[in-house]
């Protein structure tokens, strides 16, 4: 499945924080300076190492946006536990340790001259931004939030129409992204998606019903992030090219997969 977004050399780097701000409750927007930006593909991720020595494992965070010429990378994340709590305290000039670029990106080449629907939910929204920036065809976003604490909305609007669903109905369609798609009768030629598992399951099913190809970005607990530990697997329909069993490594062979190929 590593047919998409070709991988370039990985490294561990000490990088500087350019700026950080809270853009919604517990949602942080972090810009860092790293040469990794040069080769980053939309849909890839990096891992950030917490400084707290009781929390050793690196935290995978999707690349939200890159400025490839200026070595700038944007990460948008939600405070979840100890690691992201620590990250949220970083300030301009702080040095942090990252591993990247990891995984394979979205198959951007498949957007050529066609309409791509970016379906995302909550903290799955960030990677869609760079995917939209890089897309070669028309983009429409269908994004779900918990409530009216929207984030990245203006950023997305620069690259396409943004259709919103909120769980509590406080903004846009009340319900989930599929509700919004049906309500607004949105169609597209290909789907890129990232978000919580129930959403991805619904997207997979929707794409199948509609006969549209869908590429979805998965999450799993990770240790190495580079394909060595086999911690982060997902069940596959066919025997996997690397593992020779019905399991594929999300970190190394994903995180983006053709929805048809993974059992979620």
């Amino acid at each position: 499945m590593s047919e998409f977004g070709q991988n370039t050399a990985k490294s561990k780097q000490e990088v500087f924080v350019i700026e950080q701000k809270e853009i919604a409750p517990d949602i942080f927007d972090l810009w860092i300076e790293t040469t990794m930006a040069q080769h980053a593909k939309a849909g890839q991720f990096i891992s950030i190492y917490p400084k707290d020595k009781s929390t050793l494992l690196p935290r995978p965070i999707s690349i939200c946006e890159v400025n490839r010429e200026n070595d700038r990378m944007r990460l948008v994340y939600r405070v979840q536990g100890a690691g992201t709590k620590e990250f949220s305290s970083y300030q301009k000039g702080d040095k942090i340790s990252i591993l990247g670029n990891l995984g394979n990106g979205f198959p951007i080449e498949k957007t050529k001259e066609i309409k791509v629907m970016m379906i995302a939910g909550g903290i799955g929204i960030p990677p869609m931004l760079q995917a939209a920036k890089d897309a070669l065809g028309e983009v429409i976003f269908v994004v779900g939030y918990r409530d009216s604490n929207l984030f990245l909305k203006e950023d997305m609007e620069r690259y396409g129409q943004v259709v919103i669903a909120t769980e509590d109905g406080s903004y846009g369609t009340k319900g989930n992204v599929i509700d919004a798609i049906r309500e607004q009768k949105i169609s597209a030629d290909v789907i890129f998606s990232c978000g919580p598992m129930p959403m991805l399951k619904a997207v997979k099913q929707y794409a199948q019903e509609q006969g549209i190809p869908a590429y979805i970005s998965l999450e799993e607990r990770m240790a190495c992030g580079v394909g060595a530990c086999l911690g982060c697997v997902c069940k596959t329909k066919e025997v996997d090219h690397h593992s020779y069993v019905h399991n594929t490594r999300i970190c190394a062979d994903g995180p983006v997969f053709d929805a048809k190929e993974v059992e979620i």
Binding site: K12, C224, G231
Partner: protein, 301 residues
């Protein structure tokens, strides 16, 4: 300055290897580390047929360590011989295969398949806490350990390292059983069985409920067991458990290890192996140690 060690006749340029299951077959980390610099690469466990492993979540973080319950997923010995071993053959380092199985026959099958290959040593994993059959069942009972060691030694063409479990009352007894059955070396420790519970979901953090604890948190237990094994047997010992720095590695060597492995810390710092190798040399220089052998078991009261 000599950092070369010999384990059961196999020479390594330095005592630093990779712990099984934390370094794949070297491919993934070869982007970070020049494998030519390593004393040896110990591969992920290999079984006679492909194994699918456990459901996810398979890993969880703990204070100063991690739990894993991979369940020995591996593509099987055929793929190992076709893909992974040729990859390792490109490098000047000793290739050590880690062997797992459900029955003695499974182990022996893999061992026999290694006969005419470039594999330098065989590490027999009888201590994985994360699979239901085989593995740890052989590693927690000294008669069973003796028996499987004996069977494997009868067929093995390469030196045999028995990998011991820390989940036992008396590690010295286990090392002795392996030695008595003809093992060429023992390696220890494998992970210590642990558990984590997500108190918000009131669920096990791992789908397998229990997992193996590794990382800096377990180092004192590992050093103690290496010391006790070194007091119990004459065969060489490969020590591991939480090695993060050269200082940690030297602690194991002073406790009696001839070789050391870096495991979970590869995930935290992919350059750990190289830093450990450089750090051991720096230590030897600082304290005028001409030969690494002068450090092995050199702790005193």
């Amino acid at each position: 300055m000599n950092t070369t060690i010999k384990i059961a006749g196999i020479e390594m340029k330095n005592p630093v290897m990779t712990a099984s299951g934390t370094f794949g077959s070297g491919m993934e980390y070869s982007e970070f580390v020049d494998l030519n610099r390593l004393g040896g690469v110990i591969t992920k466990g290999v079984s006679n047929v492909p194994w699918v492993g456990n459901p996810t979540p398979r890993v969880a973080e703990t204070y100063g360590g991690m739990l894993n319950a991979i369940g020995l997923q591996n593509p099987g010995v055929d793929v190992f011989l076709e893909r992974d071993l040729p990859f390792l053959n490109q490098f000047h380092t000793v290739s050590v295969i880690n062997v797992c199985g459900k029955t003695v026959e499974d182990y022996v099958e893999v061992v026999e398949r290694m006969a005419d290959t470039s594999i330098g040593m065989l590490e027999i994993n009888v201590s994985c806490p994360n699979v239901k059959e085989g593995a740890i069942a052989f590693g927690q009972n000294k008669e069973a350990l003796y028996h499987i060691t004996k069977e494997i030694k009868a067929k093995a063409k390469q030196p045999v390292i028995m990998k011991l479990s820390p989940n036992v009352t008396d590690i010295g007894e286990m090392a002795k059983a392996a030695e008595a059955a003809g093992a060429d070396a023992v390696s220890l420790i494998n992970t210590i069985t642990g558990m984590k519970i997500d108190i918000h979901k009131r669920m096990f953090a791992l789908a397998n409920k229990t997992g193996g604890l590794s990382g800096p948190a377990i180092k004192p237990v590992a050093v103690r067991m290496v010391y006790q094994a070194a007091q119990a047997v004459k065969i060489p010992i490969i020590g591991m458990g939480g090695i993060a720095t050269a200082d940690d590695a030297i602690e194991f060597i002073l406790a009696g290890a001839s070789g050391v492995c870096v495991g979970a810390m590869n995930f935290v710092n992919p350059y750990t192996t190289i830093e450990v190798i450089d750090g051991i040399e720096a230590y030897m220089k600082k304290y005028n140690v001409a030969d690494i052998h002068d450090l092995i078991g050199a702790v005193h009261s």
